[in-house]
Amino acid sequence: MALLDVNRLTVSLTTKTGTLDAVSDLTFSLEPGRTVGLVGESGAGKSMIGRTIAQLLPPGFAVSGGALMFDGEDLVTMAPDRRRALLGRDIAFIPQEPLSALNPVLTIGQQFREHLDHIGKGGAGWKDRAVAEMEAVRLTDPRGLLDRYPHQLSGGMCQRVLIAMAFASRPRLLIADEPTTALDVSVQAQIVRLIAEMQERDGTAVIFITHDLRLAAEICDEVIVLYAGRQAEYGPAEVLFRTPAHPYTRCLELAVPDVAGAPRGLYLLPERMPGLKAIAELTGCRFAGRCPLADARCRAEEPALAEVGAGHVSACWKSFATEAIAPPQAPDRVATGQEKILEAQGLTKSFVTKWRMFRGATLFHALKSADFIVRDAEFVGVVGESGSGKSTLARTLIGLETPTSGALELLGRDITGTDGGTRDWRQAQMQIVFQDPQSALNPRRKVGTIVGQALEVEVPRPAGAEIEARIRQLLSETGLSQEMVARYPSQLSGGQKQRVNIARALCRLPRLLIADEIASGLDVSVQAQLLNLLLRLRAELGFSMLFISHDLAVVRYLCDRVLVMSKGEIVESGATEDVFANPRHPYTRSLLAAVPKGVRQPAMTEAST
C-alpha cells in the first residue's frame, strides 16, 4: 500500500453564493522513498495539498470531496490530537521562506529543543542530539549555532536548520514547499541535494512543490502539473519533461529562457490563469482560454485524465499534439550604439563596519573598483549571489550611496556630486525600477497619478491634457489597459504592478534604466511577458538598461553584455553569449553549473559544502 494515497481530493472555498473549488479531483499516490513534484504557476493550488495534509487551510477552505490517506489513516477526518502527533514526527514540512519560518526572538537552540521535546527526543542530552542532527545537514559549528538567533544566520543556514529539524524525527513524509525559491542559485543546488540525501538516509517520501519545471524534472520521480486546481498532467519526471503530453506543460517550459542552446523566443501564454470564481463559471477545459491548440470541443467539454503512456496521464483532448507548439523566433537584436551612456571607472564603495581608536576603521568593500561601460540602447546584465554587491552598485549609480572613490559619468558628465543640480539632471537621465513592485507603489495614489507624477514637477508644468495623453500613451506602451488609470495598486496583479513601475520610470524617457531584480517573484508566463515588453520598448524608444538579476537564463535572454559580480568585484564581463558559452572565471562556471537544466543528476551526493 502506498504511504500517501490521494484520491479525487477536492478542496473548496465556501462563500455566500456557493462553493468554489481550489483543488479538484486530485489523484496520486506516493510510495516510501519516492519524490513527487507539484508544478504550476501561483494560484494553481500547489500549496493547498500541503495545507490540506496539515489541515491548516486558509479560512473558509475545506475538503469537500475525495480521500486523503496517510498510511491507511484518513488525514481529513482524523482527530486533531492524532494529527498533531503525526505532524512534526511522521509528516514534516520545509517552508519557502526559511528566515521567516523561524521565530525571531527565540534562539535556534530554544526552537530545536522545543521540536525535540515534541518528537519525544528531548530531555537530558537534547543538546547533543540537536548538534548531531545539525551536523548531518553539514552546518558548521552547530554547538555555537544553538545560542544564535535566526537573523544572525543566512537564508541557506536557516533552511539547513529547518531541514535538520524536519529530519530529526526520521519522518516518513516530507512536504517541501518551494524550499529553494528564496535562496541563491548555488545555495539552491546544495539544499536540493541535501534534501535528497536525507531522504535517502531515512527512506522518506517527498512532495516537492515548485514553480520550476526543470528543477522538478531534475529531482523528482514523478511530476504533477497543476493548472487552475486540476491535474493537467501526471507522469514520470523525465518523460513529462522530454515529451510533455499536455499543452500547458509544453507552454510552461517554453515560457522560460535557457542558459544554453540555440537562442529562441519565449512562449507567451496569453492572459492569466482563471481565478477561483472564473473556474466555477468555466465550461470545458480550464486551459482552453490560453491554449494554442484549443478548438470548439475543448471549450465545451472538460477532458478527463486519460492514460497516454506507462504511468503517464494527461487531461487533454489533444495529448501529444504539443509538438505543434513551437518556440517563437528569437527576438531581433537591436544594434547597440557606440555612444557611452554610463561609464564607471574604479568605482568603489566601502562601509565602515567597526571603528576602533588608534587602530582605525575596519572597512567592508561592498563594491571594489568596478569598471564598466553601458552604451546606447544596450542591455547590460549584472549577475551574482546575494551579497555580491549588485544592489550596492545600483544604489551607487542612482545616488542613494556616494561612491568612496572612482569616477562615474553619465553621458560624459560627472554624477558623483551630491548637489541639487546634478541630482535633478541624473534623475532626468536615469531611472530605477525596484524588485518589489508592491512596496514601490504608493497605495493611496491611482495608477494614472503614479505614472504621470514625473511630469507634474516639470518646469514649466505641462498642460493637464498633455499629461493625460502621456499617461495613456505609457499605459498602452507597457501593455496596460486604459481603465487602469483610475485603479489603485492594490487592485492590480504582481505583473501589472511591475508594468506600472516601468511605465513610471519611462515617463520622462530616461537614457538609462536600472532594473533591480524586476522579474523575480513573478510567474513564468508573467515574466515572459515582462521580458518581451522590455525588448519591445527598447526597439521603440531606444533606452539602455542595467539589468540586475540572479537568474542567469533571464539575463542571457535579455542582455547584450553581462557583468558577473562576486564579493563586490566584477570577476568577469563580456558579450552574454561568449560568457555563457565559455565562462572563464571559476565563479561564473559554478554559477552556471548550479542552474537546473531539467536533467536528472545521477549522483545525489554533495561533494563539498
Binding site: F93, A101, Y149
Partner: protein, 339 residues
C-alpha cells in the same frame, strides 16, 4: 549586565542631563511669571516695604532671571533644593518623605495595568471574529474614555462608602502601628519591622487608588496586544510551528506572546509615564500622603521651591520609567541587542 544594555543606559543617562536642564529652565521661567513675591511671602504680614526689599536682595531676586536660574541650578547640583517658604524646612526632605509613597502607589498601579492590559488583550484576542469581540471592543473604547480620577471617585463611593469593603483614606488605618521609617516604602518598612498586620493594612489601602490608576492605563495596552497578536499569527513561524504539530497553547505562550509583547512594551513605557502623572489626582482623592498632595499644597501656598523640585522629580521619574522600559525592550529583542 551585557554590553549593549550598559551602552544604552549610558546613552540615556547622558541625554538625561540636557533634558533636565531644559525642563528645569522651563519650570523656573514659568513659575517666575506667577504674580507672587517669594520675598513678601517669607516675611510676616506686617513687614515693611524696606524689609521686603532687603529680603529680595538677600534672596537674590534683584538679579537678572538667568542669573537667578544659574544660582538655583548650581545649588541643585550640590543637592541643595532650597527651603520651603511655607514649612521652613529643606525641600529635599519634604520630597524624600513623600516620594516613596508615590512610587509605591505608581508601581502597584503599573502591576495592575500590566495585569489588566495583558489579560484583557489575551481575552480580546481569544474572542476574535465573534460577537463577543465586538462587545468587548466597545467595552475597551468605553474604558479608554474614563479618566483615572473618575475611577477613583467611583471606586471610593462603591467599594469604600457603599459596600464598606476597603479603606479609602491615607496609607494606613487609625489603629495600626506605624513602623519606623527606614526606606519610606511602607510595604518594605512594615516587613522590616516584622508587623504583618501593618503590611496587610497598607496593601488594603493601596488597592482602590492603584486599581483606579491601573484601569485607566490598561485599555490601550489591551488593544495593542490584541492587534499585535493578530499580526504575529499571520507570520510564517506560527504556521511552521503548527505544521510541526506544536499545540496551540504552546504556540501562544512560547512563540506568539514574546513577539507580540515588544510593541506592547513600548506602549507601556508611554502609558506608565502618564500613569505617574496621574498619581497626583488619585492621591488627592484618597488623601494619600504622597508627592501629589505635597504639590497641591505647595501650589495653594505658592511655595515656589517645592513646586520647582516636585515638578523636576516628576520629570525625572517619567524619564526613569521610559529608560527601564527601553532596557527591557533591549533585553527581549535579540535584533536590537546587537547594534
Amino acid at each position: 549586565m551585557s554590553g549593549p544594555v550598559m551602552k544604552l543606559l549610558l546613552r540615556r543617562l547622558l541625554t538625561l542631563i540636557p533634558t533636565l536642564i531644559l525642563v528645569s529652565l522651563l519650570l523656573f521661567c514659568i513659575l517666575r511669571m506667577l504674580p507672587v513675591d517669594p520675598a513678601a511671602m517669607s516675611l510676616p504680614p506686617n513687614a515693611t516695604n524696606a524689609e521686603i526689599e532687603a529680603m529680595r536682595i538677600e534672596m537674590g531676586l534683584d538679579k537678572p532671571l538667568i542669573q537667578q536660574y544659574g544660582i538655583w541650578f548650581g545649588n541643585i547640583i550640590h543637592g541643595d533644593f532650597g527651603a520651603s517658604i511655607h514649612y521652613r524646612t529643606a525641600v529635599s526632605k519634604l520630597v524624600l518623605d513623600t516620594l516613596p509613597a508615590t512610587i509605591e502607589l505608581a508601581l502597584a498601579a503599573m502591576v495592575f495595568a500590566t495585569l489588566f492590559g495583558v489579560l484583557g488583550g489575551l481575552w480580546l484576542f481569544y474572542t476574535r471574529g465573534g460577537v463577543v469581540e465586538s462587545v468587548l471592543d466597545l467595552g475597551t473604547v468605553a474604558l479608554l474614555s474614563i479618566p483615572e480620577f473618575l475611577w477613583g471617585l467611583f471606586f471610593m463611593l462603591l467599594f469604600g462608602v457603599s459596600l464598606d469593603l476597603l479603606p479609602f483614606i491615607g496609607r494606613l488605618g487609625a489603629g495600626v502601628d506605624r513602623p519606623e521609617t527606614i526606606t519610606g516604602f511602607l510595604l518594605i518598612d512594615s516587613l522590616l519591622a516584622g508587623s504583618p498586620l501593618t503590611f496587610l493594612d497598607a496593601i488594603r489601602h493601596m488597592i482602590l487608588p492603584s486599581v483606579a490608576l491601573g484601569l485607566s492605563a490598561a485599555p490601550p495596552i489591551m488593544r495593542i496586544l490584541r492587534s499585535t497578536l493578530m499580526d504575529v499569527y499571520q507570520e510564517d513561524y506560527i504556521h511552521q510551528a503548527r505544521q510541526r504539530g506544536i499545540s496551540e497553547g504552546r504556540i501562544l505562550i512560547f512563540h506568539a506572546l514574546k513577539n507580540a509583547f515588544l510593541p506592547t512594551l513600548s506602549l507601556m513605557g508611554v502609558q506608565f509615564g502618564f500613569l505617574f502623572g496621574g498619581t497626583l489626582l488619585v492621591e488627592i482623592i484618597y488623601s494619600y500622603p504622597g508627592m501629589g498632595n505635597l504639590m497641591v499644597d505647595a501650589i495653594r501656598n505658592a511655595d515656589l521651591p517645592i513646586i520647582q523640585t516636585v515638578g523636576l522629580t516628576y520629570c525625572v521619574m517619567v524619564l526613569l520609567i521610559s529608560m527601564v522600559v527601553d532596557v527591557l525592550y533591549l533585553v527581549l529583542n535579540p535584533k536590537l541587542r546587537e547594534a
